[in-house]
Point group: C2
Chain length 384, copies 2
Amino acid sequence: MRNVIVIGIGATPINEHWQLSLRELAGEAGLAAMHDAGLSTVESIYVGNMMSGSANHQQHLGSYIGDWLGLKFNEAVRIEAACSSSAAAFRSALIAVASGQVDSAMAIGVEKMTDSPGSEITAELATAADADWEGDHGVSFVALNALVMQRYMHEYGWKHEHFANFSINAHQNALHNPLARFHSALTFEKYENASMVADPIQLFDASPMGDGAAAILIAAEDAVLTTSKDRIRVLGSAAATDSIAVHGRKDPLWLSAAEKSAKQAYAQAGVTPQDIDLFEYHDAFTIMASLSLEASGFAERGQAPRLALDGAILPGGRIPVATRGGLKARGHPVGATGMYQIFEVIQQLRREAGQNQIENANIGMAQNIGGSGSNIITHIFGRA
Amino acid sequence: MRNVIVIGIGATPINEHWQLSLRELAGEAGLAAMHDAGLSTVESIYVGNMMSGSANHQQHLGSYIGDWLGLKFNEAVRIEAACSSSAAAFRSALIAVASGQVDSAMAIGVEKMTDSPGSEITAELATAADADWEGDHGVSFVALNALVMQRYMHEYGWKHEHFANFSINAHQNALHNPLARFHSALTFEKYENASMVADPIQLFDASPMGDGAAAILIAAEDAVLTTSKDRIRVLGSAAATDSIAVHGRKDPLWLSAAEKSAKQAYAQAGVTPQDIDLFEYHDAFTIMASLSLEASGFAERGQAPRLALDGAILPGGRIPVATRGGLKARGHPVGATGMYQIFEVIQQLRREAGQNQIENANIGMAQNIGGSGSNIITHIFGRA
């Protein structure tokens, strides 16, 4: 397999983009990545998206987006793995380039959620869970996460307030991210007094939906002669699955697919968790932030809230997370989220993260979680 | 890239499977392929499916199907490229194995369409077209094909009756295919007197929807010590795209993506159209059958109906097509169709096609078309 480097990145702000079509959103992100790379064409595209068929009455996004870009491709497909669609799409692009199928490929994550009523989107999101054994009983995604969080608090003795810093850190970091959904600081009081969504999940434990698109253009390192940007290499890429229904897992408080994919990615990159300078994790809910940190080797089982309490997750801390706001405050356009995570890791490693820049960021990790932990994909990047 | 061989195949009948869930359909096909290969596990799965999110309220099919099979995977994603979803999924599996990411992978195509009213499915199918410029104007897929067929007949002087043998041959071949949707012979009179759908497309120019699943299990040739079945090698695999909207093409009567992908596949396999012993083409409509034959090099521009008229497409002819019934009579469960095509090519090359067996079938081709020609994927297989 050939070494692969990131040569272009692009993204739109995450917002309610009622004035832009799905194609325009994806096209703008793709075009920005091509401009960033100084390229006017690309061989193949892989689109990460979850719900365009129902929310936007448009499937077949490969050639659809190609039209907007004025391009034809070797390959142009959509990859769907619920909330992990974008990391899966990036991995498809990566394998195509690393294997020599093509010399360059672009992965575009896009989701347009705010044209539909919230209730419809809640039902759409539930299609990421087990329709027969979860969805059909009316269990929404926030309810599934609430069940897990309830058990986690019971098992390890944490209270709701102990999760506050995950969200406060995210909102703080988003303040200086022009693409973020929210630009408002969160206080402990606001966090604790927020309305209840599904006990114990309150409003500020949950990430917001939104419309947005991000694109990453990659190429075989040996095929790229010059780039004006710092070369960022893909050091590790691994995916793993678990049972789709939470009740199907031996231990619902342990993300075994996160552990498996993270360990494989560490091995490929030749690093340990201690070498990771920043971690764009999948904080769809504060409980997911905790479980991801533990399964990825940053905290002992049941101890992730301690990283939030002692400041380890802050920009200057031992393992900075959600450095541009995370799902919580940058926003969570589900099928596009994984691409924003990679976009942000690349920004950090290129030292282009502005006021959010993590000092001496040399190795960064992104982890994208599909469903309530059934598809988990981990990527590690490093300065070449 | 490593040589890849097909080691297992499985499929369900195409029918109205109201008693089976999407998961059961896909699981049964996958399990049959694993039994066929003599394997009890597989490393990764790639699911080809178009409309499960809306038609079945279930996305995230990788881990969903994995649960039924009792398996966890390295990778389990859904690939969507409208009607070409399954060939795209097979290609993803192929690249994963050929590149050495994994030693074995399974591609499963599944679609469950008959739980929803026909009008809803017609709207679903239209999401494969350009929502902004085709779908929103109420142009259905049959209407798009009717426009193309009308122009084709005008341009080259063919009448509706000249397309009859495409459908008659398909129905004849399906008679002996136990998995086929239809087991009824079609006469010329019945073809010509059928009800009009969208002028000039009458009922028997169009393929039927249905529920079904097919699975193909592949492995790196150097990783497979013994198989009880004939070894069938993947000789060529190529994809290409064109503009999603028909009006965006310079020549709406020429499938440039079919030409491009077929030429690449021929070059990879080191063969010419004359070497192809059978062709599972994408006869969603008789006009698509014609355009596919021409762009793939089996007929001159505008002359494909001649192949139907002179018997070249029959089992004993120069280029047998739809040897188990094709989309027209085996059925067209859209996101699964491409996998049925490959399943049938493998059956032929293994000499397991029963009364439909093409004599001395050594090299077979399958071509899967997404939308009205915007994503086209060609595969060539040969006896090892």
